[in-house]
Symmetry: C2
Subunit: 164 residues, 2 copies
């Protein structure tokens, strides 16, 4: 008898409480990154994402997340950040900044909006000024930064680890 | 004065000890996934990856990881798994199987080889039989599985969190 055998298409785990994590994207340059993040969001049990800018989600990459995740499009991020504050979200950016906290040491609030900057430019100062926290993940080698979808994956994983 | 200001190109963190994590890839279908994993491995401070199969790494995606990470090519995975055992690695697969342990609850050994199956087929029974552990990450929604580079990101992140 084999100890490890494939179990295909396990039914999804049911989170202990409804996911109150919301991923919010600045205008992405790459629809591949955008689509990868949509798939991640779907797998992690979120039912909505806010996407600023005109990027189009590729069904080949996002898979059925595209049918389960509502993609809310907005033109720019700053007004969204204001609204999120009114709605009671802790607004957490991913960026290397002064006063960033290492993701390993960051305790998420359950009602969190994860704010993701674009590939090259990250978040603008105007946007950073509207955040409650900024987290970063340590880089130990080269290149000196993670791909945006990779960094988002780490933050979503860490949130889900804290709120199973 | 702004609380959060960009800090570009921070020097990499120096891990407390040399990274003894080794990522080992079954033949990937997509050179995009392969190249994304190479970038991740570079960022996480590893200096070597084992790649089975003929896939080519795309410099546009892997960035300077391609200059810092030695890419060791092998034809098939099973003999590599035998060698890793002789070399004293704990061989940890990523897969949904019977007796998989949730990544949240898994304590890595420092000398770990992370064994990654290909996109569609995952690891074969012959390969699963040569693993010491299998970990999986909970899926909470749709699609029912993470992209292979996304799953690898989560496992590498978790290892680095445990061994800063």
């Amino acid at each position: 008898m084999n100890r490890f055998e494939h179990v295909r298409h396990k039914p999804p785990s049911v989170p202990e409480s409804a996911r109150e994590l919301l991923v919010v994207l600045a205008p992405m340059r790459s629809s591949v990154n955008l689509s990868r993040i949509v798939r991640l969001v779907g797998c992690a049990g979120m039912t909505k994402i806010i996407q600023c800018g005109p990027g189009k989600v590729d069904r080949e990459i996002a898979r059925d997340a595209i049918d389960f995740v509502e993609i809310v499009q907005r033109r720019s991020l700053a007004p969204v950040l204001e609204q999120l504050k009114e709605d009671g979200y802790s607004r957490v950016g991913l960026e290397q900044t002064t006063h960033s906290v290492c993701l390993y040491d960051f305790a998420f609030e359950i009602k969190t909006a994860l704010i993701i900057g674009a590939e090259r430019d990250g978040l603008s100062q105007e946007e950073l000024d509207r955040l409650d926290h900024v987290v970063e993940m340590p880089v130990y080698g080269r290149p000196l930064s993670y791909n945006v979808a990779t960094a988002t994956t780490m933050a979503v994983y860490e949130y889900c680890r804290q709120f199973r």
